[in-house]
């Protein structure tokens, strides 16, 4: 093809190498920012914050009570309102256990059914006991718990 004897680089090989190098630089100059651009939102961590859930007076002893609250959340370019629900359980009226209502199996919402004394998940029949432990079905672990505090009779939970 060309006269690149004695290990000397011929003109054709030099051009090939130069074109490859320039293409590589252009590819990296666009490719690397593109990766940052695509994965950027995924790297954003949710900030921990105390969410006001409601008055502890509404919690009945020994019955998981559902608290719903609406939180504002900036998702991308939309300021969305998101419903945030937790079950609150107390055995003595002073100490409160705050449980997530999200099934640990695949993320459906569980519901407390008083008649049957358990949390039931509608998706795959996961059943949890009053304290959130698994009774039957596919869930791998108990319902998640939130850190909580009571200030002036108002219950706050920390969402992490």
């Amino acid at each position: 093809m060309d006269k690149s004897q004695e290990g000397k680089m011929g003109r054709r090989d030099f051009m090939k190498a130069t074109i490859a190098a320039i293409s590589g630089v252009i590819g990296a100059a666009i490719g690397l920012p593109a990766i940052a651009y695509v994965i950027g939102p995924a790297l954003q961590k949710e900030t921990d914050e105390w969410i006001r859930v409601g008055s502890v007076n509404k919690v009945e002893v020994n019955i998981p009570s559902l608290f719903k609250t609406v939180i504002e959340k900036q998702t991308g370019w939309i300021n969305a309102e998101e419903e945030f629900s937790v079950y609150v359980l107390t055995t003595n009226g002073r100490d409160f256990v705050v449980m997530s209502n999200i099934c640990t199996h695949l993320g459906c919402r569980v519901r407390w059914v008083a008649d049957k004394d358990g949390f039931y998940c509608p998706c795959h029949n996961g059943v949890f006991a009053k304290d959130g432990s698994v009774v039957s079905g596919p869930p791998p672990r108990s319902l998640d718990r939130f850190e909580s505090k009571v200030e002036d009779g108002i219950l706050f939970v920390k969402r992490g």
Partner: protein
């Protein structure tokens, strides 16, 4: 080992022959003006890549289009860079495509046997203009809104069919959510499909027929 694999693949795909046809073809002694076509192709690829990236975040609705553009430019990492490339690449695309067209025109390179190459090229130029026109509306800011108001109004002054063309372009009497959505759909589906199809035809013709030498007065 690696060479074996490469040879095995070439045996099936025959891509070496394709590679040679594209990159090792014989060309006349030419000058730098002949790089304008490749420059256009390069810009088209940049526009396609950055445009696809922009669609990951952009939404074509009046209530969120501008917000999503601001989000891309100010919040996302390198978003300003991707959008900047697409924005300036668009202007460069029009300039370089026009320069390429003028080179072909003044060198008489559109003549026999290259008429089909020229005709596909002219359509490609119109498509580039169409990209510019539809893309200009998408940020949905004041400049975009009024530029498109004026642009579609110009279509409206054409005799007989003007009113009809204006209504089709806007999807109604006025600029609306319908206008934004159809400009977006045209910008990211209709025009790219036409662009890619015509670029492939154009390149096929360039390779099949070859390119012209620089014209000279001498009899050869």
């Amino acid at each position: 080992m690696f060479l074996n694999l490469v040879n095995w693949l070439d045996d099936r795909f025959g891509w070496r022959a394709v590679w040679e046809a594209i990159f090792l073809r014989k060309i006349p002694h030419v000058n730098w003006f002949y790089t304008l076509g490749s420059a256009t192709l390069f810009l088209a690829i940049i526009q396609i890549v950055t445009g696809i990236l922009l669609t990951l975040y952009y939404v074509p609705t009046p209530d969120h289009a501008y917000d999503s553009v601001v989000y891309i430019s100010t919040v996302l990492p390198a978003g300003w860079f991707i959008r900047g490339l697409h924005h300036w690449g668009a202007s460069a695309m029009v300039v370089v495509t026009a320069a390429h067209l003028l080179r072909v025109f003044f060198y008489g390179a559109y003549k026999y046997p290259r008429e089909a190459t020229w005709i596909t090229g002219v359509f490609l130029f119109l498509i580039v203009i169409g990209f510019g026109f539809t893309g200009y509306l998408l940020p949905w800011d004041q400049k975009a809104y009024w530029a498109t108001t004026v642009g579609t109004h110009i279509a409206g002054v054409a005799p007989v069919v003007g009113e009809w063309m204006l209504r089709i372009a806007r999807g109604g009497d006025e600029l609306s959510a319908v206008t934004l959505a159809r400009f977006f759909g045209t910008h990211i589906w209709v025009l790219p499909a036409a662009l890619v199809t015509l670029i492939l035809m154009h390149l096929y013709l360039v390779i099949r027929i070859g390119i012209t030498a620089v014209p000279s007065r001498k009899e050869e």
